[in-house]
């Protein structure tokens, strides 16, 4: 049984004005323009979290930070945009094609943070979170960032950074969320306890056999 102990949690709230917040110099405009809107939301939320936790900018040597992404449903918008391009022998856009790959946001985050740690992209947020915990437990990474987004109308993103907590058996978790309505049972549900853990210490099941226990310092 794997259990992660959340010893501190903090929800950093975004302002509601800009649908895709400016992540600052970590993600230059020419790179941001390559991202589909939902992916930009994921990447910028992850970068804001990195900045607020002292991980902004590329590192030398590269970080061994794990990146686990929950990709939700397929990137329909990116696929439709790519397939709507000029038919052969016209010139389709390589950038638009790369955007159809589910792991594209993880790659953009790795570039911005200078990370060469383990990375995988999953369809579900519980699987992504579990993967990050397993990497940390195995010592494959010193810290892990887990991200997810709900696409389409009302898109929103959640990012959580898990780091080993000195002096305890668990990991310290810091999380941020683009505010918005998150329906019950959607693809972000496994990440929500990381953003807004209840005031009292508690425990929640994330997947078969995987539970998180936490105490909060807020």
């Amino acid at each position: 049984m794997i259990a992660a102990l959340l010893v501190a949690a903090r929800a950093a709230r975004w302002g509601p004005a800009d649908p895709v917040p400016d992540p600052g110099p970590a993600l230059p405009e020419e790179r941001r323009r390559k991202l589909a809107p939902a992916d930009a939301l994921v990447v910028t939320t992850g970068l804001e979290l990195a900045r607020s936790t002292g991980l902004a900018g590329p590192a030398d040597p590269p970080r061994r930070m794990a990146i686990a992404l929950a990709a939700d449903g397929c990137p329909r918008g990116a696929r439709a945009e790519f397939l709507a391009g000029p038919p052969p022998p016209g010139l389709a856009s390589p950038t638009l094609f790369l955007r159809t790959s589910a792991n594209f946001p993880a790659a953009q985050l790795a570039i911005a943070l200078g990370s060469r740690g383990p990375s995988a992209t999953f369809a579900g947020s519980a699987d992504a979170l579990e993967r990050a915990v397993l990497w940390l437990a195995a010592g494959a990474a010193e810290e892990a960032i887990v991200l997810g987004a709900r696409r389409g109308e009302g898109a929103e993103a959640v990012a959580a950074l898990l780091r080993r907590d000195d002096g305890s058996e668990g990991w310290r978790v810091e999380a941020s969320r683009r505010p918005g309505r998150i329906p019950d049972g959607d693809e972000l549900s496994a990440l929500l306890p990381l953003v807004s853990p209840p005031a009292e210490a508690g425990e929640v099941g994330l997947a078969e056999g995987l539970r998180l226990r936490w105490r909060t310092s807020r």
Binding site: R76, A102, L113, T121, D127
Partner: protein, 379 residues
């Protein structure tokens, strides 16, 4: 993580080279490429692809569905083999894919999310849990690594893990615009390389802990010693020349497995068949394995059945294990004259005996994704 060891108890595969592990293995040994030209509306001119016969199988013979699902059913059935329903109890399904149910057209007419293929298969077979990995072309290697780590952590008694993908407009058009598609038979690592052929495929492995396999009475045919996945921080990650991310994954897998490069019987290369990809892969192998590469043979399968995307890693895993068990390493399909720029002196042009019981399998994917797995014969 615990010291639990993870063993393979079943293999299943289907692709252009054949239906079933035996047929694909035989085709690989014979060096019989099963790739053929296709005039597609998605590409600027005729390209080579690997189309599985499962694609055109009698719809009455099994439940109808997209090609990826038919391929996956075929491979899962073979991987489970003689494991009766009682032996299958509590198993997870961990599936890697890039297009999922949208494979036949790439337009995803059902609007199916990535997880739909695994969910439907899980419903048919009664798996305890279905998970989907969508990390581009290394997806099934990461599915295998994830399943193994769950078993090691005691989260799961076992899993059917692998991948499935089918030809699609999306992928053909995408790889064409990247200038990666072959207009003749692919020849990875060759002076005359010409790109890659996209293919249909599915492969799955039945994984269990040592204790669970023994309890269920299933013989072990290989051990998944260790795995690692990485991503590149290089801004042009499609063709990172040094192969740093892959090198990191190889080093991490060897370290986690407590293995050293001289222990390797052979390397199962990814061998995409593009100049940038082949050179980067060779550089990554050289950076980690060093002078051992002067002795360790390197082989590959993309010239046989094409690049099967989310299934590619699982297909190579199945064939790596088969080669270990047979004690023979088939030649790298399509190789005639090795490209000296790749600095891999032991690229196999002919089959040779395997000396050792450990194989390193590597994989790379779009957006800088990379993975490495270590397989070994059981004691």
């Amino acid at each position: 993580m615990s010291g639990t060891r993870v063993f393979v108890h079943g293999l299943g595969a289907a692709c252009a080279a054949g239906e079933g592990v035996e047929a694909i293995w035989t085709a690989w040994r014979r060096g019989e490429t099963r790739l053929a030209p296709l005039a597609s509306r998605s590409t600027a001119s005729r390209v080579f692809v690997g189309r599985s016969r499962v694609r055109s199988s009698d719809p009455a013979a099994e439940p109808p569905g997209p090609t990826a699902m038919a391929l996956a059913r075929r491979a899962i059935r073979e991987a489970l083999g003689e494991a009766d329903p009682e032996c299958r109890a509590g198993l997870d399904l961990v599936l890697g894919t890039t297009v999922g149910l949208g494979g036949d057209t790439g337009r995803d007419p059902e609007g199916a999310p990535f997880g739909a293929l695994a969910e439907r298969l899980s419903g048919e077979w009664g798996f305890a849990r279905a998970s989907t990995v969508v990390s581009s072309c290394t997806a099934s290697m990461e599915a295998l690594g994830t399943a193994a780590d769950r078993i090691r952590a005691g989260l799961s008694p076992g899993a059917v893990a692998g991948g499935a993908d089918a030809l699609s407009d999306l992928v053909l058009r995408g790889f064409d615009c990247l200038g990666m598609l072959a207009r003749r038979t692919p020849r990875p690592f060759d002076r005359e390389r010409c790109g890659c052929a996209i293919g249909d495929g599915a492969a799955f492995l039945l994984l269990m802990s040592e204790e669970e396999g023994r309890r269920r009475g299933l013989p072990a045919i290989a051990e998944l010693v260790a795995g690692a996945a990485g991503i590149s921080d290089h801004p042009f990650s499609l063709a990172e020349p040094e192969g740093n991310a892959l090198a990191g994954a190889i080093a991490a897998a060897l370290d986690a497995g407590g293995a050293a490069s001289p222990d390797l019987a052979f390397v199962q290369a990814f061998g995409l068949g593009t100049e940038a990809g082949d050179v980067a892969e060779a550089n990554a192998l050289r950076a980690v394995l060093g002078s051992a590469l002067d002795r360790v043979p390197v082989t590959g399968t993309k010239g046989l059945f094409g690049h099967t995307l989310g299934a590619a890693g699982a297909l190579d895993a199945v064939l790596s294990i088969r080669a270990l068990r047979e004690g023979r390493i088939p030649a790298l399909t399509g190789l005639v004259e090795p490209d000296p720029a790749c600095a891999l002196p032991r690229l196999l042009r002919e089959e040779e005996p395997a000396r050792g019981d450990l194989v390193l399998q590597v994989g790379v994917g779009l957006c800088g994704q990379s993975a490495a797995l270590l397989w070994r014969l059981p004691p």
